[in-house]
């Protein structure tokens, strides 16, 4: 029973990690039907920003918890700036182009960012400081769930609730939903669609940066390539849940994380990816739009 609980919580952590990244994929897809392959790189850039800021603050002698907070804020701002710029540079000029063009542009951006970080930073693995403090009340439960895992799960839940409320009740959130439903119609009723799209990229990138800093601190190492695998897994989660749907991305990420954890725990970690992708295939056979995706009639 304890083993089951451990695996469950491990899967929950993993799922939360995927969810933070998957949200960015799914939001962008929902609005402009673009798979933003550079999203994993935004996550990586967020982590690097966190590392640089944390290093600086540690040198200046800031206390532990404030380092985490400041590093998070800086990473969010910096990554959001990257998200905004990428949209303006790589996707906006292609807004009217066939759907394949921005996709290629996204892949190009992803490769560019990876190599840019590799050249400007290093290709080696770098140690990431443990920014998340060990909580006193978690002492007895350390073997089941560490403090950093608790923080990651908590941050993901908070982000998800916040995002849902934001989209449901704020003006910008409503504009986003309107743009997602029908961009032309939204323009006609006076919504600044370009601004809405930029805002989507900014929000998605911020979430990815939060994930980047928390996960890097949990795992303890980063390099320029971490965004790739995390991005692929998060993308899978988004597709699993139904790309374009925000609750779908969260659910898909959780399902993916749990599947991987249980496949590792009860079968073998050799088959971790096999089970994850078998599940994806199965779900797509029975629900081609993903668990919570809506079937769309093809617009002619």
């Amino acid at each position: 029973m304890e083993y089951f609980l451990e695996l469950l919580l491990g899967g929950l952590t993993r799922g939360s990690i995927y969810a933070l990244i998957a949200l960015g994929y799914t939001m962008v897809y929902g609005i402009i039907e673009l798979i933003n392959f550079a999203h994993g790189e935004i996550y990586m850039i967020g982590a690097f920003t966190g590392l640089i800021v944390a290093g600086l603050l540690t040198m200046l002698g800031f206390p532990g918890a404030s380092i985490l907070a400041i590093a998070l804020v800086c990473a969010v701002i910096w990554a959001a700036a990257y998200g905004y710029t990428i949209e303006k540079v790589a996707y906006k000029p292609l807004r009217g182009a066939p759907r394949l063009s921005p996709l290629i542009s996204a892949i190009g951006m992803s490769i560019f960012l990876q190599n840019y970080v590799m050249l400007s930073q290093t290709s080696d693995f770098l140690p990431f400081p443990e920014l998340i403090p060990e909580f006193g009340f978690m002492k007895g439960y350390n073997s089941i769930m560490s403090s950093s895992e608790l923080v990651i799960v908590g941050a993901t839940i908070l982000s998800c609730i916040g995002l849902t409320l934001f989209i449901k009740f704020t003006k910008l959130g409503k504009a986003m939903r309107a743009t997602a439903q029908n961009r032309k119609m939204a323009m006609l009723v006076g919504i600044n669609v370009d601004m809405v799209i930029s805002a989507t990229f900014v929000i998605g990138s911020s979430l990815a940066a939060v994930g980047g800093v928390l996960i890097a601190s949990h795992v303890g190492q980063i390099n320029y390539f971490i965004g790739f695998i995390a991005g692929i897994k998060a993308f899978t989660a988004a597709v699993l849940g139904g790309i374009g749907s925000i609750p779908g991305a969260m659910l898909g990420a959780l399902v993916l994380g749990m599947t991987e954890a249980f496949a590792t725990g009860y079968v073998s970690s050799d088959y971790e990816d096999v089970f994850a992708f078998c599940l994806l295939v199965l779900i797509l056979i029975f629900r081609p739009a993903g668990i919570m995706g809506k079937e769309k009639t093809q617009k002619v």
Partner: protein, 391 residues
């Protein structure tokens, strides 16, 4: 018209092909002529021929050419001191391009040239192909680089020796070290790669062959995955009292820090993919106490330093890969001939197995199967942020 044109083209192509063949035939003839001259020299008295076989051209030439340089340097050194048993050492090379089919040709050539000791071959596959020919003619062969375990362990080739540790030596050391630590239940984890999984499989095989120690978990992890908490839980759940990891440092540091964070304080042993300072840098305080095997350090060996200095003086460059091993092999072979008093097969192999010789990779002799004793790997442990050799 078109038919005619294509006919002409065909003819031209045929001519070109013939010309190409002709060129090759000529080359082969030339080589043969060269060989004959060398054979002539072999027949002259007071000459001891050291054959050098391996990849001297082709893709892998960079692995084979240093062995010729090494043999020449050793020959020059011994000749300057009066030769071996009064005979001047001469180096004769045969190219196999690391290809098994060419290796058998090279071996046949060595046999017909009546070479008695051969330094080579370079690649395991080529070595394996050539060995039956050498064995039949009782030629002693010593490779500086063929690491395939069965070459020695199968016991098929009593005339084969090597100055490099076989692929599984690291795993054997790891397992015997784990046993020495008193570990009974081992979790063997690998990264699914050729190197990591190969190492882990050897470890598993050796553990299973031993009494009082067992494998309780054998698993591969996906490199680059976001976290390894499920595997860590599994290690914990398996009741293992030690972990052996085959792979590289990024995964090792994630697993070991995950284990320590979950309060799993059992020993963590790994391979030379982890014996890297980056591992200590990345894993930080969690790296403390981790064991890793790595190649023995022979950089302060005087023979090695002398060999490198001689190489720089003679060839004006730093030696290539497997140079220390090749230099040691040449030394060991010629030393054995000296000790045996002749190139008699039984006496030379006996000398190789019983008499120690000072070489560039350390003082060594060979075991019954042909692997060098005292060559290979040591165990290191992280202490205060540094890898320290465990004696």
């Amino acid at each position: 018209m078109r038919v005619k044109l294509s006919l002409i083209a065909l003819c031209l192509a045929m001519v070109a092909m013939l010309a190409a063949c002709g060129g090759e035939a000529e080359k082969i003839e030339k080589k043969d002529a060269q060989g004959d001259v060398e054979t002539g020299e072999v027949a002259a008295p007071a000459k001891l021929v050291l054959g050098v076989a391996g990849a001297h051209s082709g893709d892998l030439a960079s692995y084979g050419l240093p062995s010729i340089n090494a043999a020449k340097l050793v020959a020059a050194k011994l000749n300057a001191a009066g030769g071996v048993n009064g005979a001047m050492v001469e180096v004769v090379s045969q190219d196999d391009q690391c290809k098994p089919e060419l290796a058998t040709n090279a071996a046949t050539k060595m046999v017909s040239d009546e070479v008695k000791i051969v330094l080579g071959h370079i690649c395991s596959g080529a070595t394996k192909a050539a060995m039956p020919i050498y064995l039949e003619s009782e030629i002693v062969v010593m490779s500086p680089s063929a690491t395939n375990p069965p070459l020695t362990q199968s016991g098929e080739y009593p005339n084969f020796f090597r100055t490099i540790a076989p692929d599984d030596a690291q795993a054997a050391l790891e397992v015997s070290f784990a046993k020495g630590l008193g570990l009974k239940k081992i979790a063997v984890i690998h990264d699914k790669g050729d190197y990591g999984k190969g190492f882990a499989s050897f470890c598993k095989q050796f553990i299973e062959a031993e009494d009082g120690i067992e494998v309780v978990l054998f698993e591969g992890v996906t490199p680059g995955a976001v976290d390894y908490s499920a595997v860590v839980q599994k290690i914990k759940g398996s009741g293992a009292d030690g972990v052996i990891f085959g792979g590289y440092h990024p995964e090792a540091s994630k697993i070991v820090s995950g284990m320590r964070k979950k309060g799993v304080e059992i020993p963590f042993l790994s391979d030379d993919g982890v014996k890297d300072d980056t591992f200590i840098k990345v894993a930080g305080k969690y790296a403390e106490g981790v064991y890793a095997t790595g190649p023995m350090d022979f950089s302060d060996n005087p023979v090695y330093q002398e060999a490198v200095a001689a190489h720089k003086k003679e060839f004006g460059a730093d030696p290539g890969p497997f140079f220390p091993e090749a230099y040691s092999a040449a030394l060991a072979l010629l030393n054995a001939v000296e000790n045996a008093g002749s190139t008699d097969y039984a006496k030379v192999t006996e000398a190789l197995r019983t008499k120690y010789v000072d070489t560039a990779v350390g003082k060594l002799k060979f075991d019954a199967k042909g692997d060098a004793e005292g060559v290979g790997f040591s165990v290191y442990q992280v202490k205060d942020g540094k890898y320290v050799e465990v004696k």
